[in-house]
Amino acid sequence: MNLDLSSLKRLAPSMRWVIGITFAAVIVSGLVIGFGVRTQLAALRAVNAEIAERNATASQMQSDISKADLQKKATAKAFADLDTLSASGVIEPLLGSFAMRSKSLLDPIAQRAGFHIDSVRELTPITLQLPQPPPGQVHYRQPIEFTGQGSYAQITTFISQTENTYPMTMLSSLLILSQPQTPETHRAIITFEWPVRGEKPKGLTNGTKK
């Protein structure tokens, strides 16, 4: 665009003022809108978005907080349910030994059944098969091996009474060997499996002996 200054000079001073003021006003408007208004609009949009997000967060938090009592009750109930379940058969180690805990629990049953326990030992825990194992698995299958002697009836009574007394205990493996020198008394290796709680132990195997 060519601006012919000589044509402007030919205009009357009042006309030049008109053009100058108009031009300056347009420039000012452009600058204000281009740099000021647009920046403020962007800032307003950002702050409004942040407010909307904070409002949503706050209302969600308030909603959850209003259900705090219900949540506490639900947690307490879940804990009570778990506690009841655990009390029915999850064993805790006795001075660090699951074998000794199991022995203390099963000794009275063995005595009643007439089965003589010679030795007890703890086998390597087995991972509990779960549809979707949680990252920190808390329950495992702990086999405890009881070696002893008794008649067939005494052995099966010991197994039956253990199963009836502890609803989470299961016969995991069994070996009854006849002994030619004592036909009525057999050697038995009975492995009971108990659920136990704990952190995921390293080096879990598929039930092989230690």
Partner: protein, 215 residues
Amino acid sequence: MKTPLHLNLLKEEEHFSSSPVRLRVMMPTAAVFVALCSIAWFFLLVGKVHTQAHLNEKLKQAVASITPVYAAVLDSRAQEQEYRAMARQLGIYTNSRILFGESLSLIAARVPSCIQFTEMRIPQPTLADPAHPSAAPTNRFEQVFLRISGRTSGDHPSEAVNTLLAELRTPVFTNLLRSVSIPKGAFRQDNARSASNRDTLLFEITCECQPRRFE
């Protein structure tokens, strides 16, 4: 005849339009008006942004003030989920339980008199993928077997073993035993014994028990 003479002594810029709206007045007025409006808009926006920023700050403080309570609620919820997951694990374990005691007790009464058991074995559980035993297993079935070894003698040893097999297949044991069979070659003569006892036959019975289902 008179001819009218039109004499124009005004300069061009001194001419006034007949229109009441004069461009030379309206144009700068409108431009200045627009400029003032845009400045006013700018200041309005500045004020609005300031107000909203203040509101945002108050909201931020409000959220911060309820965060500890909210965190406690979330903790409680996570705790509940953890307890329920643990209870589910125990439920899965309990569902997988198989009871042997009663069935083992009943076997004794059903063994023919000419049969003597020498060994009864339930092997250790084996997982489906022994190559990765420590990985969390996804197989939810575990096969369980009961293996019975014994000897028999008398006039009809094979009948006695068949009778035992038939007894083990009766409904009394079907809760525990799914199939009962003698593997090929497991019914044989006892060659290790003295010549006088060559009539003794050895047998092994493999019973496939109901699988443990971890579900």
